[in-house]
Amino acid sequence: MTFDVNALRAEFPILSRKIDGKPLVYLDSAASTQKPQAVIDAITSFYTECNANVHRGAHALSDEATRRYEKARDSVSKFVNANRREEVIWTSGTTESINLVANGLAQRLDPNDEVVVTEMEHHANLVTWQQACEKAGATLKIAKINDAGELDIESFKDQLSERTRLVAFPHVSNALGTVNPIVELTQIAKSTGAWVLVDGAQGIAHGGVDVQAIGCDFYAFSGHKLFGPTGIGVLWGRFDVLNAWPVWQTGGEMISDVEYLSATWGALPNRLEAGTPNIAGAIGLGAAIEWFLQQDITALQQHEAQLIASAMEQGEAFEGMRLVGTAKNKIGVMSFLLDNAHPGDVGFILDRQGVAIRTGDNCAQPLMKRLGIGGTARASFSIYNTLEEVDALFAALRKAKSMLG
Protein backbone atom coordinates (compact mmCIF):
# COMPACT_ATOMS: atom_id res chain seq x y z
CA MET A 1 0.00 0.00 0.00
CA THR A 2 1.48 3.34 -1.00
CA PHE A 3 0.89 6.22 1.31
CA ASP A 4 -0.92 9.19 -0.23
CA VAL A 5 -0.72 12.18 2.09
CA ASN A 6 -3.10 14.21 -0.06
CA ALA A 7 -5.78 11.55 0.22
CA LEU A 8 -5.25 11.56 3.98
CA ARG A 9 -5.44 15.37 4.11
CA ALA A 10 -8.74 15.30 2.25
CA GLU A 11 -10.27 13.57 5.27
CA PHE A 12 -9.49 16.59 7.48
CA PRO A 13 -11.87 19.39 6.47
CA ILE A 14 -10.03 22.12 8.38
CA LEU A 15 -6.82 21.60 6.41
CA SER A 16 -8.36 23.22 3.35
CA ARG A 17 -8.95 26.46 5.27
CA LYS A 18 -7.29 29.71 4.30
CA ILE A 19 -5.80 32.17 6.79
CA ASP A 20 -5.86 35.74 5.49
CA GLY A 21 -6.15 34.28 2.01
CA LYS A 22 -3.16 31.97 2.42
CA PRO A 23 -3.35 28.18 2.73
CA LEU A 24 -3.25 27.04 6.34
CA VAL A 25 0.01 25.33 7.23
CA TYR A 26 -0.89 23.72 10.55
CA LEU A 27 2.26 22.93 12.50
CA ASP A 28 0.82 22.85 16.01
CA SER A 29 -0.35 19.27 16.28
CA ALA A 30 1.62 18.69 19.48
CA ALA A 31 -0.80 21.17 21.07
CA SER A 32 -3.84 19.62 19.42
CA THR A 33 -4.31 17.51 16.31
CA GLN A 34 -6.97 18.19 13.72
CA LYS A 35 -9.96 15.87 13.35
CA PRO A 36 -10.89 13.66 10.41
CA GLN A 37 -14.46 13.73 9.09
CA ALA A 38 -15.07 10.30 10.64
CA VAL A 39 -14.66 11.79 14.12
CA ILE A 40 -16.83 14.80 13.38
CA ASP A 41 -19.50 12.48 11.97
CA ALA A 42 -19.41 10.18 15.01
CA ILE A 43 -20.03 13.11 17.36
CA THR A 44 -22.78 14.54 15.18
CA SER A 45 -24.38 11.12 14.84
CA PHE A 46 -24.43 10.65 18.60
CA TYR A 47 -26.23 13.95 19.17
CA THR A 48 -28.61 13.60 16.23
CA GLU A 49 -29.47 9.93 16.67
CA CYS A 50 -29.03 8.64 20.21
CA ASN A 51 -28.23 11.37 22.73
CA ALA A 52 -29.15 10.10 26.20
CA ASN A 53 -27.39 9.32 29.43
CA VAL A 54 -25.55 6.04 29.65
CA HIS A 55 -25.99 3.06 31.96
CA ARG A 56 -29.22 4.28 33.51
CA GLY A 57 -32.04 4.76 31.02
CA ALA A 58 -34.88 2.34 30.57
CA HIS A 59 -35.20 3.23 26.93
CA ALA A 60 -33.81 2.62 23.45
CA LEU A 61 -31.81 5.83 23.19
CA SER A 62 -29.92 5.16 26.40
CA ASP A 63 -29.23 1.59 25.29
CA GLU A 64 -27.86 2.79 21.97
CA ALA A 65 -25.77 5.54 23.62
CA THR A 66 -24.39 3.04 26.13
CA ARG A 67 -23.49 0.60 23.36
CA ARG A 68 -21.56 3.23 21.40
CA TYR A 69 -19.90 4.57 24.54
CA GLU A 70 -18.71 1.17 25.73
CA LYS A 71 -17.66 0.21 22.21
CA ALA A 72 -15.32 3.21 22.35
CA ARG A 73 -13.78 1.75 25.50
CA ASP A 74 -13.19 -1.47 23.58
CA SER A 75 -11.47 0.54 20.84
CA VAL A 76 -9.08 2.10 23.35
CA SER A 77 -8.49 -1.25 24.98
CA LYS A 78 -7.54 -2.80 21.64
CA PHE A 79 -5.46 0.24 20.61
CA VAL A 80 -3.17 0.13 23.65
CA ASN A 81 -3.35 -3.67 23.98
CA ALA A 82 -4.87 -3.63 27.46
CA ASN A 83 -5.24 -6.93 29.29
CA ARG A 84 -8.93 -6.23 29.76
CA ARG A 85 -11.38 -3.45 28.96
CA GLU A 86 -11.92 -2.50 32.62
CA GLU A 87 -8.37 -1.14 32.64
CA VAL A 88 -9.48 1.80 30.49
CA ILE A 89 -10.67 4.74 32.60
CA TRP A 90 -12.20 7.79 30.91
CA THR A 91 -10.88 11.13 32.08
CA SER A 92 -10.96 14.64 30.67
CA GLY A 93 -7.40 14.32 29.38
CA THR A 94 -3.82 13.55 30.28
CA THR A 95 -3.81 16.11 33.08
CA GLU A 96 -6.82 14.58 34.79
CA SER A 97 -5.44 11.07 34.27
CA ILE A 98 -2.24 12.02 36.07
CA ASN A 99 -4.20 13.84 38.77
CA LEU A 100 -6.25 10.70 39.39
CA VAL A 101 -3.07 8.71 40.01
CA ALA A 102 -1.38 11.50 42.00
CA ASN A 103 -4.42 11.94 44.20
CA GLY A 104 -4.43 8.28 45.15
CA LEU A 105 -0.68 8.21 45.53
CA ALA A 106 -0.76 11.11 48.01
CA GLN A 107 -2.90 8.94 50.30
CA ARG A 108 -0.38 6.12 50.10
CA LEU A 109 2.88 8.04 50.49
CA ASP A 110 4.83 8.17 53.73
CA PRO A 111 7.16 11.03 54.58
CA ASN A 112 10.21 8.90 53.77
CA ASP A 113 8.90 8.00 50.34
CA GLU A 114 10.15 9.35 47.06
CA VAL A 115 8.68 10.03 43.63
CA VAL A 116 10.92 10.33 40.57
CA VAL A 117 10.30 12.38 37.43
CA THR A 118 12.62 13.90 34.80
CA GLU A 119 13.85 17.35 33.84
CA MET A 120 11.88 17.18 30.60
CA GLU A 121 8.39 17.10 32.12
CA HIS A 122 5.62 19.42 31.09
CA HIS A 123 3.68 20.90 33.99
CA ALA A 124 1.00 18.18 34.00
CA ASN A 125 3.56 15.52 34.86
CA LEU A 126 5.42 17.66 37.38
CA VAL A 127 3.13 19.91 39.41
CA THR A 128 0.80 16.96 40.08
CA TRP A 129 3.63 15.00 41.75
CA GLN A 130 4.89 18.11 43.56
CA GLN A 131 1.44 18.37 45.13
CA ALA A 132 1.21 14.68 46.00
CA CYS A 133 4.64 14.80 47.67
CA GLU A 134 3.83 18.01 49.49
CA LYS A 135 0.62 16.55 50.95
CA ALA A 136 2.47 13.49 52.24
CA GLY A 137 5.74 15.18 53.17
CA ALA A 138 7.47 12.94 50.63
CA THR A 139 10.36 13.91 48.33
CA LEU A 140 10.25 14.56 44.60
CA LYS A 141 13.45 13.69 42.75
CA ILE A 142 14.36 14.85 39.28
CA ALA A 143 16.41 12.79 36.79
CA LYS A 144 18.67 14.89 34.59
CA ILE A 145 18.78 15.34 30.84
CA ASN A 146 21.77 16.12 28.65
CA ASP A 147 22.05 19.26 26.50
CA ALA A 148 20.58 17.46 23.49
CA GLY A 149 17.44 16.86 25.54
CA GLU A 150 17.95 13.14 26.12
CA LEU A 151 17.38 11.56 29.49
CA ASP A 152 20.60 10.76 31.35
CA ILE A 153 20.02 7.11 32.21
CA GLU A 154 22.71 7.12 34.91
CA SER A 155 21.07 10.09 36.60
CA PHE A 156 17.72 8.32 36.27
CA LYS A 157 19.15 5.26 38.02
CA ASP A 158 20.73 7.47 40.68
CA GLN A 159 17.35 8.89 41.68
CA LEU A 160 15.90 5.44 42.35
CA SER A 161 16.06 3.71 45.71
CA GLU A 162 14.07 1.34 47.87
CA ARG A 163 12.09 4.42 48.96
CA THR A 164 10.87 5.14 45.41
CA ARG A 165 7.12 4.62 45.24
CA LEU A 166 6.32 5.96 41.80
CA VAL A 167 8.32 6.90 38.72
CA ALA A 168 6.79 9.06 35.98
CA PHE A 169 8.27 10.09 32.64
CA PRO A 170 7.05 11.18 29.23
CA HIS A 171 6.84 8.81 26.29
CA VAL A 172 7.77 11.75 24.04
CA SER A 173 8.81 15.23 25.22
CA ASN A 174 6.31 17.89 24.16
CA ALA A 175 8.92 20.64 24.05
CA LEU A 176 11.86 18.76 22.55
CA GLY A 177 10.39 15.80 20.69
CA THR A 178 12.74 13.37 22.44
CA VAL A 179 11.46 9.79 22.31
CA ASN A 180 12.31 8.10 25.59
CA PRO A 181 13.29 4.42 25.78
CA ILE A 182 10.17 3.69 27.80
CA VAL A 183 10.54 -0.08 27.92
CA GLU A 184 14.07 0.18 29.30
CA LEU A 185 13.11 2.98 31.73
CA THR A 186 10.13 0.98 32.96
CA GLN A 187 12.29 -2.07 33.50
CA ILE A 188 14.83 -0.08 35.50
CA ALA A 189 12.17 1.65 37.57
CA LYS A 190 10.21 -1.54 38.26
CA SER A 191 13.32 -3.14 39.75
CA THR A 192 12.76 -0.91 42.80
CA GLY A 193 9.18 -2.10 43.12
CA ALA A 194 7.83 1.36 42.26
CA TRP A 195 4.72 2.04 40.20
CA VAL A 196 5.50 3.43 36.77
CA LEU A 197 3.39 6.00 34.96
CA VAL A 198 4.11 6.87 31.34
CA ASP A 199 2.81 10.26 30.22
CA GLY A 200 1.66 9.41 26.73
CA ALA A 201 0.28 12.82 25.75
CA GLN A 202 2.78 13.15 22.91
CA GLY A 203 3.44 9.48 22.33
CA ILE A 204 0.01 8.12 21.58
CA ALA A 205 -0.57 9.75 18.17
CA HIS A 206 2.40 8.04 16.59
CA GLY A 207 0.85 4.61 17.02
CA GLY A 208 2.22 1.36 18.31
CA VAL A 209 1.63 1.82 22.04
CA ASP A 210 1.44 -1.59 23.71
CA VAL A 211 1.04 -1.23 27.46
CA GLN A 212 1.74 -4.89 28.08
CA ALA A 213 5.01 -4.70 26.17
CA ILE A 214 5.98 -1.49 27.99
CA GLY A 215 5.34 -3.11 31.34
CA CYS A 216 4.22 0.10 33.05
CA ASP A 217 1.39 0.42 35.58
CA PHE A 218 -0.25 3.51 34.10
CA TYR A 219 -0.32 5.13 30.66
CA ALA A 220 -2.09 8.49 30.34
CA PHE A 221 -3.16 10.31 27.19
CA SER A 222 -5.57 12.86 25.73
CA GLY A 223 -8.09 12.32 22.95
CA HIS A 224 -7.50 15.65 21.26
CA LYS A 225 -3.87 14.84 20.54
CA LEU A 226 -5.00 11.60 18.88
CA PHE A 227 -7.33 13.13 16.25
CA GLY A 228 -10.24 12.93 18.71
CA PRO A 229 -12.22 15.62 20.52
CA THR A 230 -11.10 17.80 23.42
CA GLY A 231 -12.30 17.09 26.94
CA ILE A 232 -11.79 13.33 26.78
CA GLY A 233 -8.75 11.32 27.75
CA VAL A 234 -7.72 7.98 29.08
CA LEU A 235 -5.96 6.57 32.05
CA TRP A 236 -4.96 3.03 31.30
CA GLY A 237 -3.95 1.19 34.46
CA ARG A 238 -3.01 -2.40 35.27
CA PHE A 239 -6.14 -4.07 36.63
CA ASP A 240 -4.87 -5.12 40.06
CA VAL A 241 -3.22 -1.72 40.60
CA LEU A 242 -6.30 0.26 39.56
CA ASN A 243 -8.58 -2.02 41.54
CA ALA A 244 -6.68 -1.17 44.73
CA TRP A 245 -6.22 2.53 43.88
CA PRO A 246 -8.04 4.95 46.19
CA VAL A 247 -11.20 6.42 44.66
CA TRP A 248 -10.94 10.13 44.03
CA GLN A 249 -14.04 11.84 42.70
CA THR A 250 -17.13 10.44 44.33
CA GLY A 251 -20.80 10.65 43.41
CA GLY A 252 -23.05 8.93 40.90
CA GLU A 253 -22.02 6.00 38.69
CA MET A 254 -19.02 5.02 40.84
CA ILE A 255 -20.96 3.59 43.79
CA SER A 256 -22.39 0.20 44.65
CA ASP A 257 -24.63 0.74 47.70
CA VAL A 258 -25.38 4.09 49.31
CA GLU A 259 -26.78 4.83 52.76
CA TYR A 260 -27.25 8.32 54.18
CA LEU A 261 -24.04 8.11 56.14
CA SER A 262 -21.93 5.70 54.09
CA ALA A 263 -21.37 4.19 50.69
CA THR A 264 -19.52 1.34 49.00
CA TRP A 265 -17.80 1.55 45.66
CA GLY A 266 -18.64 -0.11 42.39
CA ALA A 267 -16.34 -2.23 40.25
CA LEU A 268 -13.82 -1.00 37.68
CA PRO A 269 -13.98 0.97 35.52
CA ASN A 270 -16.93 2.75 37.16
CA ARG A 271 -15.34 3.18 40.59
CA LEU A 272 -12.91 5.70 39.09
CA GLU A 273 -15.49 7.43 36.86
CA ALA A 274 -17.84 9.54 38.98
CA GLY A 275 -20.78 11.34 37.43
CA THR A 276 -22.14 11.48 33.90
CA PRO A 277 -19.16 11.00 31.62
CA ASN A 278 -18.19 12.85 28.45
CA ILE A 279 -20.23 10.48 26.30
CA ALA A 280 -19.84 12.29 22.99
CA GLY A 281 -16.14 12.74 23.70
CA ALA A 282 -15.62 9.04 24.35
CA ILE A 283 -17.53 8.11 21.19
CA GLY A 284 -15.50 10.66 19.21
CA LEU A 285 -12.25 9.27 20.56
CA GLY A 286 -13.40 5.73 19.76
CA ALA A 287 -14.06 6.86 16.19
CA ALA A 288 -10.62 8.50 16.02
CA ILE A 289 -8.96 5.27 17.07
CA GLU A 290 -10.96 3.14 14.63
CA TRP A 291 -10.07 5.63 11.90
CA PHE A 292 -6.39 5.54 12.86
CA LEU A 293 -6.34 1.74 12.91
CA GLN A 294 -7.59 1.68 9.32
CA GLN A 295 -4.45 3.51 8.19
CA ASP A 296 -1.16 1.90 7.28
CA ILE A 297 0.50 2.82 10.57
CA THR A 298 3.98 1.79 9.45
CA ALA A 299 3.65 4.09 6.44
CA LEU A 300 2.44 6.91 8.71
CA GLN A 301 5.44 6.44 10.98
CA GLN A 302 7.82 6.52 8.01
CA HIS A 303 6.13 9.67 6.75
CA GLU A 304 6.43 11.34 10.15
CA ALA A 305 10.10 10.37 10.33
CA GLN A 306 10.65 12.03 6.93
CA LEU A 307 8.95 15.22 8.10
CA ILE A 308 11.06 15.64 11.22
CA ALA A 309 14.24 14.64 9.37
CA SER A 310 13.61 17.26 6.69
CA ALA A 311 12.80 19.91 9.31
CA MET A 312 15.90 19.19 11.37
CA GLU A 313 18.13 19.11 8.30
CA GLN A 314 16.84 22.47 7.09
CA GLY A 315 16.97 23.83 10.64
CA GLU A 316 20.63 22.91 11.03
CA ALA A 317 21.45 24.64 7.75
CA PHE A 318 19.40 27.77 8.56
CA GLU A 319 21.66 30.65 9.48
CA GLY A 320 20.94 32.06 12.92
CA MET A 321 18.73 29.16 14.01
CA ARG A 322 19.38 27.42 17.30
CA LEU A 323 17.67 24.06 17.52
CA VAL A 324 16.46 23.22 21.01
CA GLY A 325 16.24 19.47 21.46
CA THR A 326 18.52 17.49 19.18
CA ALA A 327 18.00 13.98 20.53
CA LYS A 328 19.02 11.17 18.20
CA ASN A 329 15.61 9.59 18.59
CA LYS A 330 13.01 12.29 18.18
CA ILE A 331 9.64 12.71 16.58
CA GLY A 332 7.05 15.32 15.76
CA VAL A 333 8.62 18.42 17.27
CA MET A 334 11.20 20.99 16.20
CA SER A 335 11.77 23.65 18.86
CA PHE A 336 14.03 26.52 17.95
CA LEU A 337 15.19 30.07 18.48
CA LEU A 338 15.87 32.44 15.59
CA ASP A 339 18.75 34.89 16.03
CA ASN A 340 17.87 37.03 19.03
CA ALA A 341 14.22 37.31 18.07
CA HIS A 342 11.54 36.72 20.67
CA PRO A 343 9.68 33.48 19.83
CA GLY A 344 6.40 35.40 20.06
CA ASP A 345 7.54 37.72 17.28
CA VAL A 346 8.59 34.79 15.10
CA GLY A 347 5.27 33.07 15.71
CA PHE A 348 3.38 36.20 14.81
CA ILE A 349 5.18 36.77 11.51
CA LEU A 350 4.62 33.10 10.66
CA ASP A 351 0.94 33.37 11.51
CA ARG A 352 0.59 36.26 9.06
CA GLN A 353 1.82 33.84 6.40
CA GLY A 354 -0.66 31.14 7.35
CA VAL A 355 1.88 29.06 9.27
CA ALA A 356 0.56 28.04 12.71
CA ILE A 357 3.15 27.18 15.37
CA ARG A 358 3.38 27.35 19.16
CA THR A 359 5.56 29.86 20.97
CA GLY A 360 6.44 30.32 24.62
CA ASP A 361 7.50 28.09 27.48
CA ASN A 362 5.77 24.98 26.03
CA CYS A 363 4.09 24.42 29.43
CA ALA A 364 7.51 23.36 30.71
CA GLN A 365 8.98 26.33 32.57
CA PRO A 366 11.56 24.35 34.60
CA LEU A 367 12.80 22.66 31.41
CA MET A 368 13.20 26.04 29.70
CA LYS A 369 15.20 27.27 32.71
CA ARG A 370 17.30 24.10 32.63
CA LEU A 371 18.12 24.89 28.99
CA GLY A 372 18.87 28.51 29.90
CA ILE A 373 16.12 30.02 27.75
CA GLY A 374 12.76 31.67 28.35
CA GLY A 375 10.93 29.73 25.71
CA THR A 376 11.04 28.57 22.13
CA ALA A 377 9.16 28.63 18.89
CA ARG A 378 7.88 25.12 18.25
CA ALA A 379 6.80 23.61 14.96
CA SER A 380 5.15 20.22 15.38
CA PHE A 381 4.24 17.77 12.68
CA SER A 382 1.60 15.13 12.32
CA ILE A 383 0.65 12.46 9.80
CA TYR A 384 -1.26 14.93 7.59
CA ASN A 385 1.59 17.38 7.12
CA THR A 386 3.58 17.37 3.90
CA LEU A 387 7.22 17.88 3.02
CA GLU A 388 6.05 20.97 1.08
CA GLU A 389 4.68 22.35 4.34
CA VAL A 390 8.06 21.87 5.98
CA ASP A 391 9.52 23.90 3.10
CA ALA A 392 6.77 26.50 3.58
CA LEU A 393 7.77 26.80 7.23
CA PHE A 394 11.33 27.66 6.27
CA ALA A 395 10.23 30.08 3.57
CA ALA A 396 8.10 31.82 6.21
CA LEU A 397 11.05 31.78 8.61
CA ARG A 398 13.28 33.47 6.03
CA LYS A 399 10.70 36.26 5.84
CA ALA A 400 10.57 36.48 9.65
CA LYS A 401 14.34 36.65 9.80
CA SER A 402 14.52 39.51 7.31
CA MET A 403 11.70 41.46 9.00
CA LEU A 404 12.93 41.02 12.57
CA GLY A 405 16.65 41.14 11.89
Binding site: H342, R352, L404
Partner: protein, 137 residues
Protein backbone atom coordinates in the same frame (compact mmCIF):
# COMPACT_ATOMS: atom_id res chain seq x y z
CA UNK B 1 14.23 60.41 18.21
CA UNK B 2 10.70 61.73 18.60
CA UNK B 3 8.06 59.12 18.01
CA UNK B 4 5.08 60.02 15.83
CA UNK B 5 1.75 60.97 17.41
CA UNK B 6 -1.39 58.90 17.14
CA UNK B 7 -2.82 60.82 14.18
CA UNK B 8 0.43 60.50 12.30
CA UNK B 9 0.55 56.76 12.98
CA UNK B 10 -3.00 56.32 11.72
CA UNK B 11 -2.01 58.14 8.51
CA UNK B 12 1.22 56.20 8.13
CA UNK B 13 -0.41 52.81 8.61
CA UNK B 14 -3.26 53.68 6.23
CA UNK B 15 -0.63 54.29 3.55
CA UNK B 16 0.63 50.71 3.52
CA UNK B 17 -1.35 48.17 1.60
CA UNK B 18 0.20 44.89 2.67
CA UNK B 19 0.73 43.25 6.03
CA UNK B 20 4.47 43.07 5.59
CA UNK B 21 4.93 46.83 5.25
CA UNK B 22 2.53 47.48 8.12
CA UNK B 23 4.33 45.14 10.48
CA UNK B 24 7.75 46.30 9.32
CA UNK B 25 6.60 49.78 10.33
CA UNK B 26 5.45 48.49 13.73
CA UNK B 27 8.70 46.58 14.22
CA UNK B 28 10.72 49.68 13.33
CA UNK B 29 8.66 51.75 15.78
CA UNK B 30 9.38 49.14 18.41
CA UNK B 31 13.09 49.34 17.75
CA UNK B 32 13.00 53.14 18.07
CA UNK B 33 11.16 53.10 21.39
CA UNK B 34 13.83 53.74 24.02
CA UNK B 35 12.74 51.01 26.42
CA UNK B 36 13.73 50.79 30.06
CA UNK B 37 17.12 50.44 31.67
CA UNK B 38 17.58 47.06 33.29
CA UNK B 39 17.53 48.67 36.74
CA UNK B 40 14.03 49.99 35.99
CA UNK B 41 12.69 46.61 34.86
CA UNK B 42 11.62 45.72 38.39
CA UNK B 43 9.15 42.98 39.29
CA UNK B 44 6.54 45.49 40.45
CA UNK B 45 6.58 47.04 36.97
CA UNK B 46 6.25 43.71 35.19
CA UNK B 47 3.04 42.92 33.40
CA UNK B 48 3.21 39.27 32.48
CA UNK B 49 1.58 38.02 29.32
CA UNK B 50 1.74 34.33 28.53
CA UNK B 51 3.98 34.89 25.51
CA UNK B 52 5.93 38.02 26.31
CA UNK B 53 6.73 40.24 29.26
CA UNK B 54 6.07 43.95 29.43
CA UNK B 55 7.32 46.53 31.93
CA UNK B 56 5.58 49.81 32.65
CA UNK B 57 7.05 52.76 34.56
CA UNK B 58 4.85 55.72 35.38
CA UNK B 59 5.88 59.28 36.34
CA UNK B 60 3.58 62.16 37.19
CA UNK B 61 4.39 65.82 36.69
CA UNK B 62 2.31 68.93 36.13
CA UNK B 63 -0.91 66.96 36.11
CA UNK B 64 0.31 64.75 33.29
CA UNK B 65 1.32 61.13 33.19
CA UNK B 66 4.53 60.00 31.56
CA UNK B 67 5.08 56.38 30.67
CA UNK B 68 8.19 54.37 29.91
CA UNK B 69 7.63 50.87 28.65
CA UNK B 70 9.64 47.90 27.56
CA UNK B 71 8.95 44.46 26.16
CA UNK B 72 11.08 41.45 25.33
CA UNK B 73 9.19 41.07 22.04
CA UNK B 74 9.74 43.70 19.35
CA UNK B 75 6.26 43.54 17.81
CA UNK B 76 4.76 44.06 21.24
CA UNK B 77 7.24 46.90 21.72
CA UNK B 78 6.00 48.46 18.46
CA UNK B 79 2.39 48.07 19.57
CA UNK B 80 3.33 49.71 22.86
CA UNK B 81 4.67 52.64 20.84
CA UNK B 82 1.20 52.93 19.30
CA UNK B 83 -0.34 52.85 22.79
CA UNK B 84 2.04 55.52 24.05
CA UNK B 85 1.34 57.69 21.02
CA UNK B 86 -2.18 57.90 22.37
CA UNK B 87 -1.44 58.28 26.10
CA UNK B 88 1.94 59.90 26.51
CA UNK B 89 2.08 63.11 28.60
CA UNK B 90 -1.68 63.44 28.74
CA UNK B 91 -3.80 64.29 31.76
CA UNK B 92 -5.62 61.45 33.56
CA UNK B 93 -8.94 62.80 32.24
CA UNK B 94 -7.65 62.79 28.67
CA UNK B 95 -6.35 59.26 29.08
CA UNK B 96 -9.65 57.98 30.42
CA UNK B 97 -11.56 59.75 27.64
CA UNK B 98 -9.47 58.18 24.88
CA UNK B 99 -11.18 55.22 23.16
CA UNK B 100 -8.32 52.78 22.71
CA UNK B 101 -10.47 50.05 21.15
CA UNK B 102 -11.65 52.45 18.45
CA UNK B 103 -8.06 53.57 17.90
CA UNK B 104 -6.82 50.00 17.39
CA UNK B 105 -9.82 49.29 15.18
CA UNK B 106 -8.91 52.33 13.05
CA UNK B 107 -5.36 51.01 12.83
CA UNK B 108 -6.85 47.66 11.78
CA UNK B 109 -4.96 46.06 14.66
CA UNK B 110 -7.85 45.09 16.91
CA UNK B 111 -6.72 41.46 16.99
CA UNK B 112 -3.83 42.57 19.20
CA UNK B 113 -5.98 44.18 21.84
CA UNK B 114 -8.54 41.40 22.31
CA UNK B 115 -8.76 40.09 25.87
CA UNK B 116 -7.60 36.64 24.76
CA UNK B 117 -4.33 37.80 23.27
CA UNK B 118 -1.64 36.84 25.74
CA UNK B 119 0.88 39.49 24.81
CA UNK B 120 0.29 41.80 27.75
CA UNK B 121 -0.92 44.70 25.63
CA UNK B 122 -4.43 44.66 27.02
CA UNK B 123 -2.98 44.38 30.53
CA UNK B 124 -0.78 47.43 29.91
CA UNK B 125 -3.74 49.46 28.71
CA UNK B 126 -5.62 48.36 31.83
CA UNK B 127 -2.72 49.44 34.04
CA UNK B 128 -2.43 52.82 32.34
CA UNK B 129 -6.14 53.43 32.79
CA UNK B 130 -6.01 52.30 36.44
CA UNK B 131 -3.15 54.70 37.05
CA UNK B 132 -5.14 57.51 35.45
CA UNK B 133 -8.20 56.67 37.57
CA UNK B 134 -6.11 56.70 40.75
CA UNK B 135 -4.52 60.00 39.77
CA UNK B 136 -7.97 61.55 39.38
CA UNK B 137 -9.18 60.42 42.81
Amino acid sequence: MALPGSDEIIDDLAFFDDWEQRYQYIIDLGKQLPGLAEIDRTPDRLVKGCQSSVWLKVDKSDGQLHFDVDSDAVIVQGLLALVLAAYQDKSPAEILAFNIDAYFAELDLERHITPTRGNGLRAIVGKIRDTATQALN
